[in-house]
């Protein structure tokens, strides 16, 4: 492997980022507008790729009540390798422990500051002070020089959204091939949504690195099936059925194709970092009794969890045509359906549906996704990045820590 295949921004914890983001984080919905206005001062017009490696992104947690999962997600996101500096925006009376979060970010070697709106003179003055802080650190980050980064330092996540009957036969298996290429070269790859893997659990268990991990995977899918059954229906949207998918297990098999053929090295929960290269399953369904509603209320909630596990970039397969991107990590959109691609070409990075029209093979598209991942990791903007997509959502959940059988490599 060529150690200088990629270039990254070196962080004090030794991880490297493929982007250099100033994150502005609101700590309750009441601070969202102020944080958004600060970020808005630095927005490029839609269609303009960022002019340099650094950019300003908005993240946050809307709830006023404390939640250990949200704390952990925010800590991981604020110290993600793609993030170089963090401005926290607090209203002042919310429950979020802003002091602890700022200390955690500072301990990671990143510049951090907190603006409390109630103590900073309100909306107008907080926006002005925040914009000044961001301006200063943006130029610091611009001056930072990228260093060589190996593929074995890269973490890639995968998600599917707006699936139809083509997702499971074009884009998902092509992303699975790309995962296989990346894993062969030492990268860590994460697939997810155990609720969308109902019906695949025994097959996954056979691919697990150890029998104990296999049992954990079966348990975790059973938990997901139970959780969704209690809620009344699965991770199956009306658009899925319009696109030709009939049942949850049919959707699952198509989603499962994203994982490729590597053996499964571990089972993560949101915020767990892969201890080494290889393929990991992310358990996104909360532990314990059903609370707070659907595990992930939309695709971006899943993307945020992949990023919290350290994913530098995310492959997103879509048949119906999702247009989203994400804050913090670039999203590569792989379009499964050739008709959708013709309608939404501006939003799609890869035309995987061409496999259905005899204009390419699964291997060719898999190779294209892999090579695009390398270009994006070297700084090339994705379609959603250049269109200014920075969706982000974080809601309430409850998790128990993963058991020792979940990460045999770390034991």
């Amino acid at each position: 492997m060529n150690a200088s295949e990629l270039r990254g921004y070196l962080r004090p914890d030794g991880r490297k980022g493929i982007r250099n983001v100033v994150a502005v984080a609101y700590l309750v919905e009441c601070a969202h507008h102020v944080a958004r206005e600060i970020v808005g001062r630095f927005r490029e017009p839609v269609g303009n790729a960022p002019q340099s490696g650094s950019a300003v992104h908005l993240i946050g947690f809307p709830g006023c009540y404390p939640n250990a999962y949200a704390d952990r997600m925010m800590r991981r996101l604020c110290t993600h390798p793609n993030v170089g500096a963090v401005l926290l925006v607090s209203l002042g009376c919310e429950s979020f422990n802003r002091r602890k979060l700022e200390e955690h970010i500072r301990a990671s070697g990143r510049p951090a500051a907190t603006l409390v709106i109630q103590e900073s003179g309100g909306t107008r003055r907080t926006i002005a002070r925040g914009a000044e802080w961001v301006e200063e650190w943006l130029s610091e980050l611009d001056a930072q020089v990228a260093v060589p980064m190996a593929l074995s330092e890269l973490v890639v996540g995968t998600v599917c959204g707006g699936s139809d009957g083509t997702s499971g036969i074009t884009a998902n298996p092509a992303m699975g091939r790309a995962f296989d290429f990346l894993i062969e070269r030492g990268a860590a790859c994460i697939f997810e949504e155990t609720g969308e893997l109902v019906g695949c659990e025994h097959h996954m268990a056979r691919r697990a690195a150890t029998p104990a991990l296999g049992e954990e995977i079966i348990r975790c899918v059973a938990k997901a099936a139970r959780y969704y059954a209690t809620l009344g229906h699965g991770s199956f949207a009306v658009g899925n059925a319009d696109g030709g998918l009939t049942t949850q297990e049919e959707k699952s098999l198509g989603a499962y194709a994203k994982s490729g053929a590597a053996r499964i090295a571990g089972l993560l929960k949101p915020g767990d970092l892969p201890p080494a290269g290889g393929l990991y399953l992310l358990d996104v369904v909360p532990d314990g009794e059903v609370r707070f509603g659907f595990p992930n209320i939309n695709d971006n909630a899943e993307i945020a969890e992949l990023i919290a596990c350290g994913a530098h970039l995310v492959f997103f397969s879509t048949g119906r045509g999702s247009v989203v991107g994400s804050a913090i990590a670039p999203v590569i959109k792989v379009c499964a359906n050739p008709e959708t691609y013709r309608k939404l070409e501006d939003d799609m990075d890869v035309d995987a549906g061409r496999i259905l029209e005899g204009r390419g093979t699964l291997d060719e598209v898999g190779r294209e996704v892999y090579e695009l991942a390398l270009r994006v990791a070297r700084g090339a903007p994705t379609k959603s990045e250049s269109l200014g997509h920075q969706e982000f959502i974080l809601t309430y959940k409850t998790f128990e820590p993963a058991g020792p059988a979940c990460l045999p490599a770390a034991a």
Partner: protein
């Protein structure tokens, strides 16, 4: 994997359904394992057709794996969807029918 009709995809040898790769109009003829059959209605890309007659209660196989149980008899070449296939795990929700059916095997 190719089926005998390039507009239809056979994903695994044991499958009893085929995936539509190019939109079909009503009365279009498709070739399923050597038999020419007219499709009864327009069927979009990504949807499924029966590769052979499927009895009520029989499992439907795609990718060589079970995707649910036929809730009605399905003729060769017929569209397979929420009207004649149900999940063995979870109910499927559609806008028209609300909960189209409830899982009986969960």
């Amino acid at each position: 994997m190719a089926s005998s009709d390039l507009r239809l995809v056979l994903l695994a040898p044991d499958d009893n359904c085929l995936v539509v790769a190019q939109a079909l109009r009503a009365e279009d003829r498709v070739n399923i394992d050597g038999e020419s059959i007219a499709v009864a209605k327009a069927i979009g890309v990504g949807h499924k057709l029966a590769r052979r007659a499927i009895a009520r209660g029989e499992k439907v196989l795609k990718y060589g794996a079970i995707i649910g149980t036929a809730s009605a008899p399905i003729a060769r070449g017929e569209h397979i969807h929420t009207h004649n296939l149900e999940s063995d795990y979870l109910p499927t929700y559609t806008l028209e029918a609300g909960r189209a059916f409830v899982a009986k095997h969960a």
